[in-house]
C-alpha cells in the first residue's frame, strides 16, 4: 500500500495504470453502459416492439416511472424478492459458516473429498435445479413420499400451493445451490486468520465458543461483509429457479423482480414500461450497496 505523503515511483507513472485498466473499462462500457443508456432512453418513451421502431417512438417523460411504481404487482415482486434474498442469504450464511467452522476446527480425514462434494450444487444449471426441486416439493413428490414412508400415513402437504411454503421452497432451492459459495468464502477466510491470537486465547483457557465469538468472528468481519454483499446482489436477480419451480405462483406470491421484468419486457412486449422499473431497481441497489460496502471500497489517494 502506498503511503500518503511519500511519492512512490509507481505513482509518477500514471499512464501505465490507466492502460492496464483500459480493456476492463472498454468492455464494461461496451456491454453495459451502451445498453443501459439505451434502456434509460427507452424508459422515457412509450415504445413497444409491437408499435414500431424504437427510435421513432415519442418521448413521454417520467410517465412510465410513476405508472410502474404505483403498480401493485411490481411492489409485490419487490417484497417477494426481498423475502427470498433475506431468507436465502441468511440460510446460506448460517449453514456455510457452521460448515466452514466444522471443517476448520474438526480433525478428520477426507476433507478434500467432502469439499469437492460440497461444491457440486454450484455447478448444476439453475434452470434444471428448478425442475428437480419442483419434483421434490410437489404434492406427491419426494419430500412427501419420504414423510409418508417414515410416518406410515399419507402425507400430502401442498408445499408449492401455499404462499409461505412455496416461498420457503424457493429459498431452500437457492440455498442448496449457493451455500457452497458461502462455505468456500468462510473456510478460506478462516484458514487465512493469523493463528497466534487463537492459540494465545486457548492457552489462557478460553472456551471454543468464546474463541469463535470474541476472536474469530470479529476478524472475519470483512470477508463476511463482502460475502453477504455478493450473495445478496446475486440472489436479488433470482430468476430461473422460481420461474420453473412455481411460475411465480400461487397467484403472484413468488414472482420475483426478474420474473416480473421478464414477463413484461419480453413476453408482454412492454419494454419501455419495464425498463423504467429496471432502472428504479438498479438505482435502489446502487444506493444500498454503496452504503453497505463503504468500508470495503478503496480510498482514492
Amino acid at each position: 500500500m502506498a503511503n500518503k505523503g511519500r511519492t512512490s515511483w509507481l505513482r509518477r507513472k500514471f499512464g501505465f495504470n490507466v492502460l492496464l485498466v483500459m480493456p476492463l473499462q472498454v468492455i464494461l462500457n461496451f456491454v453495459l453502459i451502451v445498453p443501459f443508456a439505451l434502456a434509460i432512453y427507452l424508459s422515457l418513451t412509450d415504445w413497444s416492439p409491437i408499435t414500431g421502431p424504437w427510435y421513432a417512438s415519442p418521448i413521454v417523460g417520467a410517465q412510465n416511472y410513476v405508472s410502474i411504481l404505483t403498480t401493485e404487482r411490481f411492489q409485490q415482486a419487490i417484497v417477494n424478492t426481498l423475502l427470498i434474498v433475506g431468507g436465502a442469504v441468511t440460510l446460506e450464511f448460517a449453514v456455510g459458516l457452521v460448515l466452514a467452522l466444522a471443517f476448520f476446527s474438526w480433525d478428520f480425514r477426507g476433507k478434500a473429498v467432502f469439499a469437492s462434494i460440497f461444491l457440486v450444487p454450484m455447478m448444476v444449471i439453475p434452470a434444471i435445479s428448478g425442475f428437480t426441486f419442483q419434483t421434490i416439493f410437489s404434492t406427491q413428490g419426494a419430500i412427501n413420499d419420504v414423510l409418508s414412508r417414515v410416518s406410515g400415513t399419507v402425507v400430502a402437504v401442498d408445499w408449492l400451493h401455499v404462499p409461505w411454503s412455496a416461498l420457503s421452497a424457493v429459498i431452500l432451492a437457492d440455498a442448496w445451490q449457493w451455500t457452497p459459495f458461502m462455505f468456500l468464502l468462510m473456510y478460506a477466510g478462516m484458514t487465512a486468520l493469523p493463528s497466534d491470537p487463537i492459540r494465545a486465547a486457548r492457552v489462557m483457557g478460553a472456551s471454543e465458543r468464546q474463541i469463535f465469538l470474541r476472536i474469530m468472528l470479529p476478524m472475519l468481519r470483512p470477508i463476511i461483509t463482502i460475502a453477504l454483499i455478493i450473495r445478496s446482489l446475486e440472489a436479488f436477480k433470482i430468476f430461473d429457479v422460481p420461474f420453473i419451480m412455481t411460475q411465480g405462483g400461487p397467484g403472484t406470491t413468488t414472482e420475483t423482480i426478474s420474473i416480473f421484468l421478464y414477463k413484461f419486457a419480453i413476453q408482454f412486449a412492454r419494454v419501455a414500461w419495464a425498463s423504467a422499473g429496471a432502472i428504479v431497481i438498479f438505482i435502489a441497489i446502487v444506493i444500498v450497496t454503496l452504503w453497505a460496502s463503504k468500508p470495503l471500497l478503496p480510498k482514492a489517494e
Partner: protein, 285 residues
C-alpha cells in the same frame, strides 16, 4: 475421542447427502423411462434403467423416448458453443480482470469510482437490459454469435475476477515489486513476471467462478442465441415430449453438463482453497 470422530463424519455425511440429493435425482431421472419421469408418487429408482435419454440427446436411436413423439436434436453443437463461450469468457475475463485488478490494487486507478463501477455490473437483472442489448447487438451483427455471448458474459462476469484477484494483489508485499524494480525489471513486466505467479490461486478461483457462471447462464442466451450459438441451458428447453418438458433428455444433458465443471473444479480445487485463504476477498483493512 472415537465418539467425537463419529459425530464429525456423521455431520459431514449428512451435509454431503443434502448436497448430492438433487444430483442423485438428476442422474436417476436421466435413466428413467418416459413413464417414470412424472410418475406420482415419485419413482426413486428406475425399474428398467436405460440410456435412451443419453442416446436421444445425441440423435441416436432411442426406442423408448419416441413412444409419445419425442424430439431428437443432437447436442454436439450446444456443447461446442457452451465450451467456446465459457472458455472464451474465462480466458478473457481472467486476462482483462487481472490487468484491471493490478491497476486498481497497486495504483488505485479511478479510486472508489472505478471499483464501484465494476461492482454495478452485477447489480442489474440481465433480463432488464436484454432487449436494449438485443437492439444494440443487432446493429453490430453480434446476435446469435458465440463472440457476442463472450462479450456480454465478459461484461457481467469480469467483476468476479476483480473482486477476488484484487485482494490477492493487495496481500503481496510492496517490497517484492520494489526489489524487482531495483533488479531492473521494467514496470511493464512487473505485473506479469513478478506478481502473476504469486496470485495464481486467486486467478484459478476466479476462473472457476467465471466458468460456472457463463456455463450455466440461461436468460441472456435465451434471447441472444438462435441457430448458430445455442448453449446447453437453452438446448435443455428444446427437449419436449408432446408439449411438456422431456425430463429424461433434459436430465441427461444436465448430468453431462456438470461433468466438465466438476473436472475443472477438481483441478482447481487445491489452488482454490489455498488461493482464497490468502486473504484476498477479505476486503480492505
Amino acid at each position: 475421542m472415537k465418539g467425537k470422530k463419529l459425530i464429525y463424519y456423521a455431520t459431514m455425511l449428512v451435509a454431503a447427502l443434502f448436497a448430492l440429493f438433487p444430483l442423485f435425482w438428476l442422474v436417476t431421472s436421466s435413466l428413467k423411462s418416459p413413464f417414470e419421469w412424472f410418475a406420482r408418487p415419485v419413482v426413486w429408482i428406475p425399474a428398467h434403467p436405460s440410456l435412451d435419454s443419453y442416446a436421444a440427446i445425441f440423435g441416436l436411436p432411442a426406442p423408448s423416448i419416441t413412444v409419445v413423439g419425442g424430439v431428437l436434436v443432437p447436442s454436439f453443437y450446444a456443447f461446442r458453443n457452451s465450451l467456446l463461450a465459457a472458455i472464451g469468457t474465462t480466458v478473457a475475463a481472467v486476462a482483462i480482470g487481472y490487468m484491471g485488478a493490478y491497476s486498481i490494487s497497486r495504483y488505485k486507478t479511478g479510486g472508489a469510482v472505478t471499483y464501484f463501477f465494476v461492482l454495478t455490473s452485477r447489480m442489474l437483472p440481465p433480463v432488464a437490459v436484454v432487449i436494449p442489448l438485443l437492439v444494440f447487438f443487432q446493429t453490430l451483427s453480434l446476435v446469435d454469435t458465440v463472440e457476442g455471448l463472450v462479450l456480454i458474459y465478459l461484461g457481467v462476469n469480469v467483476a468476479f475476477v476483480i473482486w477476488i484477484v484484487r485482494g490477492f494483489i493487495d496481500d503481496v508485499p510492496k517490497e517484492v515489486e520494489e526489489a524487482a524494480a531495483l533488479d531492473g525489471v521494467t514496470k511493464w513486466s512487473i505485473p506479469f513476471r513478478i506478481i502473476l505467479p504469486l496470485v495464481k490461486g486467486g486467478l484459478a478461483a476466479s476462473a472457476l467462478f467465471v466458468f460456472i457462471l457463463s456455463w450455466t447462464e440461461f436468460g441472456i442466451a435465451l434471447i441472444l442465441t438462435q441457430y448458430n450459438s445455442t448453449t446447453i441451458p437453452v438446448q435443455l428447453f428444446k427437449y419436449e415430449f408432446g408439449g411438456g418438458p422431456a425430463l429424461g433428455p433434459m436430465a441427461a444433458l444436465s448430468t453431462l453438463a456438470v461433468i466438465p465443471v466438476i473436472i475443472l473444479g477438481y483441478i482447481i480445487q487445491k489452488q482454490l482453497v489455498k488461493g482464497l485463504s490468502m486473504g484476498s476477498i477479505r476486503g480492505r483493512r
